[in-house]
């Protein structure tokens, strides 16, 4: 039976109660306890820094050449916090409620309320570290709004918020490295968990420069290894983002929660051809000011600027007047797909919609002219001032769009289309962020916990930092307090020897296939299956086909893969093969999970379960649970249900009309 270990008492007292009653570890004992952290994004870097500050002996691992490269760095739009600096009615409760509702009532109340509670501390901490958030002329912090909410609670640093937050956490981490509290292993990849007496006690990692396998002991292991969107091959994730750490944990007994919950982000630059290696996000913050439209006429081939106002269909404003262009991501993505499928798409592929800034430039321009006392400004003056404002707010995003597409978005509307962006699913964890494997934790995107079936914009950064700065420092003590008498286990222990051998055997097996096809070709094929049949819309027949196709692909992968080069050297193809092998297995589980969840909720849209208007239809009677999957053998999983109880935020049909 799954026990989420939610503390008792009223919702808004649970975390306070927990903090007041959890076990503590005294400073002298902390120095004897070793913690392994996989991944150095917002969750990993903030956890490593905070645990190092507390005195634990931390070892942190990342596959990149520096911890500062982790993909949190690419997050653009912002980070939410219930500060209510704008006096617009925000509160901890509202942030909690918006997140639960935005997640379509598939997240845990206790976790989400805690997230909302610590959100304000995150902003304070980051400012103290020197994170240069955007400010107003009065010197105070600026806010903007984001999809799925009606208050302005998002803090930001131009379109580079993730970068600034990660640099803050990275600097805190490097400070602990300098002080000797954290030892950093870059260009290392975790390839297995070492289990001793039923507890996670270490890892096997591969040095990606020399190819050597290494054994590392830890009293606890924290997986902060991010999400698995790259199972779709094309996504907004970095090329190296992978599921391997989480998947190894799953193979060692950790349950995988809601694997099918994938976020398809509505505003990405459309695919341009077969060579495409990744997709690029245009921040959701652009929907604050930009208006999304398609031509009213099917197959209209006119240039966007030639289509008059009355022949444009601002379909989000039309369908969802209350939220307009700021509906949550799942809703906006499906609406774009619906228009394109119906034949109204734009661009050469017809798989795109327009995101138009002309109105915003005019509005801001008029405002600036008024501020500057320019009476009866000419259209040119309005435009010039308007462009300057837009540049300041979104300049880096507009530049990026121009570099990729060769089009100037200040002149012509951007073309956008939904793309895989984030995975709400992940390792199942309890309130303390521990998986069902003792001593094995999952933080940030790697766990399943806070976003339900759909994540609201600007909430991923919040969750990563909440987990690392403000949750794990408390909850890990509650576990490690029982370990103060456990001396470091030498890595000559048989469990280390056996696990290393298993890792070595698998690498040998991969290298010895000596087939004809590249890793990349298998990854592309997997991605196509997943996108076509487990993407924005899913149905039972398609999912069943996908499961068969993936099983077939797996066979072929293990019999016809070609990896050049050797094992004991830098070999990026071998690194990729290790990851793709895990993605293939994960893909199968995602389809199985999507198949069993015969309801639509959040990013998971089952065609069988929709309203007459084509909106997602949830089925709370049958599916108000977390699906936690236990691996029983190859291609064989057992479903465990964690029923979700809503005591405060009573589930209702989500409406943004």
């Amino acid at each position: 039976m799954l026990n989420a270990k939610i503390p008792g008492g009223p919702l808004d007292q649970k975390w306070t109660y927990y903090k007041g009653h959890c076990n503590l570890v005294n400073p002298a004992n902390k120095r004897k306890l070793e913690v392994i952290i996989i991944g150095t994004g917002l969750a990993g870097a903030s956890a490593a820094a905070s645990l190092g500050e507390l005195g634990y002996k931390v070892k942190a691992f990342c596959f990149q050449d520096s911890p500062r490269r982790a993909h949190s760095i690419a997050a653009q739009g912002g980070i939410n916090a219930a500060k209510n600096y704008q006096n617009d009615g925000d509160s901890v409760f509202r942030l909690f409620y918006d997140t639960i509702k935005g997640g379509d009532y598939r997240a845990r109340e206790g976790n989400v309320h805690r997230l909302a509670e610590v959100s304000a501390n995150i902003i304070d901490q980051c400012v103290a570290q020197g994170v240069p958030f955007a400010r107003e002329y009065g010197g105070l912090l600026s806010n903007r709004s984001f999809g799925g909410t009606q208050v302005q609670r998002t803090f930001y640093a131009a379109g580079q918020t993730g970068q600034q937050l990660l640099i803050g956490a990275y600097q805190a981490l490097e400070r602990q490295v300098a002080l000797g509290n954290v030892k950093m292993y870059s260009r290392h990849e975790m390839l297995d968990i070492v289990m001793i007496d039923g507890k996670a006690r270490g890892i096997i990692a591969r040095n990606l420069v020399t190819g050597e396998l290494e054994r590392h002991f830890g009293h606890a292991v924290l997986l902060c290894s991010g999400g698995y969107g790259n199972v779709f091959y094309l996504s907004t994730n970095a090329m190296g983002s992978n599921v391997t750490a989480a998947w190894k944990a799953h193979k060692k007994g950790a349950y995988f929660g809601n694997p099918c919950f994938t976020q398809i982000h509505p505003t990405c630059i459309p695919v341009s051809g077969d060579h495409q290696s990744k997709l690029t996000l245009m921040s959701e913050s652009l929907r604050n000011d930009g208006r999304i439209w398609v031509p009213k006429q099917k197959g209209d081939t006119r240039k966007p600027n030639e289509i008059p106002e009355e022949e444009r269909d601002y379909y989000l404003e039309r369908r969802y007047p209350a939220f307009g262009n700021l509906v949550p991501r799942d809703v906006a993505s499906r609406a774009a797909k619906e228009r394109c499928d119906a034949g109204y798409g734009v661009g050469s592929s017809r798989q795109a919609v327009y995101l138009d800034y002309a109105k915003a430039i005019e509005r801001y321009g008029l405002g600036e002219c008024s501020k500057l006392g320019i009476e009866d400004p000419t259209p040119e003056q309005v435009r010039e001032h308007g462009v300057n404002v837009v540049k300041e707010k979104y300049g880096n995003l507009f530049d990026m769009y121009e570099k990729i597409t060769g089009e100037n978005p200040y002149e012509v509307p951007m073309r956008i289309y939904p793309a895989v962006h984030y995975t709400m699913g992940g390792l199942w964890v309890d309130y303390e962020l521990m998986t069902n494997v003792p001593g094995l934790y999952a933080l940030g995107e790697a766990n399943f916990s806070d976003h339900g079936a759909n994540r609201l914009g600007a909430s991923a950064l919040m969750q990563g930092l909440a987990d690392g700065y403000f949750v794990i420092p408390y909850t890990i003590g509650n576990y490690l307090s029982n370990d103060i008498r456990t001396a470091a286990i030498p890595t000559s222990h048989q469990a280390f020897v056996d696990t290393e051998k298993a890792v070595q055997d698998r690498i040998d097996r991969l290298m010895n296939i000596k087939g004809a096809k590249t890793v990349e070709s298998f990854h592309k094929r997997l991605g196509k299956i997943m996108w076509d049949k487990c993407g924005m819309a899913r149905n039972a027949a398609g999912l069943q086909e996908a499961i068969e196709e993936i099983r077939q692909l797996k066979k072929e992968f293990w019999s016809n893969l070609r990896i050049p080069g050797g094992i004991k050297e830098m070999n990026p193809e071998l690194d990729k093969a290790n990851r793709v092998a895990d993605f293939i297995e994960l893909g199968e589980l995602m389809c199985i999970d999507a198949l069993q969840r015969n309801e639509s909720c959040g990013g998971h849209f089952r065609e069988e379960s929709q309203t007459e208007e084509g909106e997602a239809k949830r089925d709370d009677n049958n599916f108000q649970y977390v699906a936690a999957w236990e691996l029983k053998g190859e291609g064989n999983w057992e479903l465990h249900r964690e029923d979700l109880v809503f005591e405060v935020a009573k589930p209702s049909q989500r409406s943004y009309k």
Binding site: S46, S50, D65, Q125, R135, G139, T518, M570
Partner: protein
């Protein structure tokens, strides 16, 4: 956007490992779309090399959206290639025309030793940050974020410097392999903010000391670093760095 295909000649630095002496290898690549990114062209070439039973070209890359700072190719004598304020991953093939020859090397600097092919070791930058590129504030100590107002201009300038992605193009472009632009960006970011003030002097002294220890050269104001910086970090920061360094040296207590 109109697009076209092209055939190109690539001369790429190949080096098996750090102890190998390395050499240029020439490759013809065909039917490259102008819509591809520069790294996607390398993907295509690598797929072909694997199919031919050869060793693919190792290169660093990750986000492919110009922000992680991992990509690092020295293209026709210029870090990150011909476009202004750009990273290698954001360079697109419409920058080239049919028949062009493109020479691709790793970052060239003693403090960035080559690991393999186009991959170099930039951990020296991490060690410079470790020497003082932070504000010493433990988690949980912070006061309310709005309790210290900061002039917008200063905050914006701090942000402009904090935007450094640590790619090392500045070092690769500099004839002295100086890391002054990188160091000045971090020193400026933190010196411009009130939160960075308490450690202002020790920070600049310690970071410069580590920079020298890593073997980076001195600055002779040629401005090559600024010209190639993907994030347009201004060389005026180096003046600020020198200023901070002199003031700290004259007034530091220890």
């Amino acid at each position: 956007m109109e697009h076209h295909t092209m055939n190109l000649t690539l001369k790429v630095w190949r080096q098996k490992n750090s102890s190998d002496s390395g050499h240029f290898e020439t490759y013809d690549v065909k039917d490259i779309s102008s819509e591809m990114s520069f790294l996607e062209m390398f993907d295509v070439l690598n797929e072909r090399l694997i199919a031919e039973g050869k060793d693919p070209i190792a290169f660093d890359h990750d986000c492919r959206e110009g922000i992680c700072g991992m990509c690092s190719m020295y293209i026709n004598g210029r870090p990150h290639g011909p476009w202004h304020a750009n990273t290698t991953c954001q360079l697109h093939m419409r920058a080239y025309k049919d028949g062009d020859t493109i020479v691709v090397e790793p970052w060239r600097a003693k403090s960035f030793p080559v690991i393999k092919d186009l991959v170099v070791d930039r951990t020296a930058f991490d060690r410079i940050i470790q020497a003082g590129g932070y504000i010493s504030v433990n988690t949980g100590n912070a006061v309310d974020a709005n309790s210290i107002p900061i002039e917008k201009d200063k905050a914006d300038l701090a942000f402009a410097n904090a935007a450094c992605i640590g790619c090392g193009a500045c070092v690769a472009a500099c004839k002295n392999s100086s890391a002054m632009l990188f160091v000045s960006a971090k020193v400026s970011h933190l010196a411009l903010l009130p939160q960075g003030d308490p450690e202002r002097k020790s920070r600049v002294i310690n970071m410069i000391a580590q920079m020298d220890k890593e073997g980076f050269g001195g600055c002779t104001n040629t401005g090559a670093c600024e010209a190639v910086c993907p994030k347009e970090i201004s060389i005026t920061n180096i003046a600020r760095l020198n200023n901070e360094y002199i003031k700290a040296g004259l007034t530091v207590d220890k």
